[in-house]
Symmetry: C2
Subunit: 578 residues, 2 copies
């Protein structure tokens, strides 16, 4: 007895063939007027996506009819009985992996989109990934503890989603951006090894791979140092990949480590894709010896000039190079300098003429070979790294250097603790205000905060930030100093974080942890280009659920009970904001 | 090397003894001036709850010093080194199981409260319960799929928590009361076997064991009937108890079943505690033969007269009986009639004189024995069942009939599909509008809706509703008829449930499921009297988190961005609402 959806029906040679589909795959059902009786006539009415139950006999297919592309391709089922459980209208798109419809339509009919084998595979990979993580951590003494979703609003980093309280008019809960504070309080509680697959929320303007709600593996340990947390997570990630996606190769174990500074210098990114080289090369010293005013001016005003070498791309036309230049400008560059290396090592095109006198030094510094295209940006360090970092990924894609069956993990360490916020005229925490400075850098907090390194570590993989964590401050005096540095005054610190400061006085153990972006990890394991493909019911860029129509207007009575009134912006009516 | 909290320090015979505590328990550390060196002097400064790291040598205790009450009671650790990792102020209450402080103080310092061994045990039972459920369902082909927390508001049942959308001014998300609709849509997606440990939210006025957010095991299966869902859940619950709390006895397997009507008749509750008898007995026929006007009046106007027999409680004084009467009145009874059975079977006290002529019939009907106290209520069925049902539990407690090591599960079936809402003048869904009627009762939808039985089942245990579920409607025509019955017009149904109605047209399989109240299940397994004891960070009756101060006032800028204005009620200032 089988039940499922009619994937396809073919009438052939007096027989009716139905591909019956369920979560596990497809099997062929045969209706034969001689053997199937009444079921044959019912089968004549079957259409795509009808829901049916079939009784029949499994038989080997004749050798010439075996379908090697199908897991069940060697058998077929001769139906003796057919029950139509539910009829289906013609769906707005066919249920198969290769469809050519807009994402809007897919999201509008997500329940049909999720019938596609690829989406079912993604949901299954997600289930297995999270299950594996839970089993692995449980076996190592971690307890999963649920922390509340309705918490206190303590603005830091992104914007909070707010939830009005009806029982306490005028007051609000916030949805957690992460369980950060609560997991630290669990360490103060002596829980020792905690984790949670936690839902987190950020009310940000949504970009490509952001969602208003996302899932974290949140993990915290007491009595540990950074090395302990990193070793544990490295082992977990390695075994996860080996178990859930055994066809993928991990490029290097133990995972290599880069300092934040080195990652930026060499790859222009704090989440570099290490599947390929094409590193950023400092060519300022070479340009300093030339007469090229534009670059020399940048160097003299403290800027940087860096290059990447695109192997073999000297074949690029002016038009192709111009496209790259447009990309670079879109990412913030003022221009993109380039030069081709010809056979014999001569330079041609672009800025070649300025390099005549320094050709050998240029070739030696860049390592460029005949046939290569060298691309350069001169600007502030931030712009140079941003633009060349992105260009590197773009060229890596074009050159097929980003093998999807390879996973290149890398730990990024020695992040700065704080960064100067020019707009607000104060220091901001690079991670969050609970991150511990390196003990040896604590004196610098008073003298040169920008030089203080955090006890923080990020795990990047294939160009994505997959996880990030730190050792936390567990001493009240250090935490108070940190708040001071971030220009959070005593009263504000008390109001927002009083419970944390107080908890630190009652015997807080040293502790640290990490959070994984589960959506991104699953996306990478499932070879998907964005996280919406690995989330059952994602939202659009405007935060809309196209299937149910959330968010929506609500009954005025509901707002009245919450003591709230809507004050719509005058120039921007609600309907245009969608 | 050990790390943990100083649980206790005793100086004795020139030695210092420290009980070091962590999540796993307590171990005794000995500081000996001869062997511990500098550590001895550091140890002199140790106070309760200081966080320390100790190096030392494990040794057997002298036989006379063995502490059989401690898992580590046969050993002690001679310290050679002591590092004070963090000092602690004197905590507001001592960290041990038996404390005599108000719950408010415990919640205010929850991070200290959670250090108590009992709370750590509760969190561990919770972790193991949920882990077991996940493993068990995973092994049976269930996929855990995360459904969104920011969903559409579709008011049904309890009040929704609302979340204002910033990107779509004037619109709101709701927090889910359960993933009901989404899990049904997953069935339409062909997921077949879904579950989720899901956070759910209800903005209700909080009572004893209610929390604004709570955790459900949410489960759904396609192509099943009620018996399949019940059998699976019965097996899961049985193995869960055997694994997590093997010292508990399950009273009866397979779990007995009662119809809703029978449960109400015999126990006055749809979640009866079957650990003991003391059933409700109909004594109307007996009273009809008497001259007692009050009871006869009730019977004539369609009311009920029922009794429970409290064994051995003929010893109760007038005062004690009067206390019971006060309880009954508090629960809604107009009075509580009683009579004692004396040696030889004579009746005395209370309403005994009215029963003189029908004594034998009375004794036979109630089964009361000499020494028993018979308690009776005459009123509408609702009041009689409510009052006697609660009185039964109260007397069960007093008589020690509710053994905490016994678990009596019972399935309640054949619930009515709808009940008449007198206030609103319409039918309400007893469970929710997606519950399927029994096929044989579908014709009654048009003629006698109150008689229609739902394909629903609740699992009760020890007097708690632990789980509830149903087979769902999967046909659009039946769903439309149901909305009609509930007085939800076409337009409203479209607006609220359009996505469900539409999904039902594209091949929805027959499906059904269940939801467990995880907090209650863990509470019962952990022998706790309320769910706050098994939730890491619960809220008070006014929805407050006393530790962090949520909900709280927020920055006016935050409200401005949400296009909201607070309109406080005039007579009830915000501060008094706490």
């Amino acid at each position: 007895m089988l039940a499922g959806w009619v994937h396809r029906r073919r009438d052939h040679g007096g027989l009716i063939f139905v591909d019956l589909r369920d979560r596990e795959g497809i099997v062929q059902i045969v209706f034969d007027p001689k053997r199937s009786g009444d079921a044959f006539h019912s089968a004549e009415t079957l259409r795509h996506e009808d829901v049916v139950q079939i009784e029949g006999t499994v038989a080997l297919r004749p050798p010439e009819m075996v379908n090697p592309n199908l897991a069940t391709g060697e058998v077929e089922v001769y139906a003796t009985r057919l029950t139509v459980l539910n009829r289906a209208k013609t769906p707005p798109f066919v249920i198969r992996d290769e469809i050519n419809v807009g994402e809007e339509l897919r999201l509008r009919y997500r329940y049909l989109d999720l019938r596609r084998p690829r989406m079912q595979r993604n949901l299954h990979i997600r289930h297995r990934t999270i299950k594996f993580i839970r089993d692995w951590l449980d076996a190592r003494g971690f307890w999963e503890i649920e922390t509340p979703i309705l918490i206190k609003s303590t603005p830091e980093g992104a914007r909070d989603f707010l939830v009005p309280s009806r029982l306490q008019p005028g007051k609000f809960y916030a949805l957690p951006q992460s369980p950060q504070q609560l997991k630290q309080l669990l360490m103060v509680s002596g829980i020792d090894r905690y984790f949670q697959i936690a839902r987190c929320f950020r009310d940000e303007d949504l970009r490509g791979d952001r969602q208003p709600e996302f899932t974290q593996l949140d993990l915290e340990m007491a009595f540990v140092e950074a090395e302990d947390v990193m070793a544990l997570n490295e082992a977990l990630m390695t075994e996860l990949v080996q178990t859930v996606t055994p066809h993928k190769r991990i490029k290097q174990t133990p995972f290599p480590r880069l300092t934040y500074a080195e990652a930026m210098e060499r790859y222009g990114s704090d989440k570099p894709d290490l599947r390929f080289g094409m590193e950023l090369i400092d060519v300022a010293a070479v340009w300093a010896e030339t007469d090229f005013r534009a670059f020399k001016g940048v160097i003299e005003s403290g800027g940087r000039v860096k290059a990447i070498v695109a192997p073999g791309l000297a074949t690029y036309s002016r038009k192709q190079i111009s496209e790259l230049e447009d990309l670079a400008k879109g990412w913030g560059a003022k221009g993109l300098a380039w030069v081709k290396v010809e056979e014999g090592g001569t330079l041609s095109g672009g800025v070649a003429r300025f390099l005549e006198n320094v050709r050998d030094a240029f070739l030696q510094t860049t390592g460029a070979q005949p046939g290569d295209l060298v691309l350069m940006v001169a600007d502030t360090a931030d712009v140079v790294h941003e633009v060349l970092g992105r260009l590197r990924l773009e060229l890596g894609d074009r050159l097929g250097l980003r093998d999807k069956d390879e996973l290149a993990f890398v730990w990024i360490v020695d992040f700065p603790l704080v960064e100067w916020n020019e707009d607000e005229g104060r220091w901001d925490a690079v991670h969050h205000p609970f991150t511990s400075p390196k003990p040896e850098d604590i004196p610098l907090l008073d003298t040169d905060p920008g030089k203080v390194r955090a006890q923080a570590y990020d795990l990047a993989g294939n160009g994505w930030e997959l996880a990030g964590g730190s050792i936390r401050i567990h001493r009240r005096d250090v935490q108070a100093k940190m708040f001071q540095l971030l220009n959070i005054d005593e009263a504000t610190a008390q109001e927002r974080f009083g419970h944390m400061l107080e908890a630190f006085e009652y015997g807080a153990p040293p502790h640290g942890g990490i959070a994984w972006g589960i959506d991104r990890v699953v996306m990478v394991l499932a070879d998907e280009p964005n996280i919406r493909e690995v989330i059952a019911f994602p939202k659009t860029a405007s935060g809309a659920d196209l299937m149910t129509g959330a968010p929506s207007e609500v009954d005025p009575k509901q707002l009245e009970e919450l003591h709230l009134k809507i004050v719509l912006p005058e120039r921007e009516p609600a309907s245009s904001a969608e």
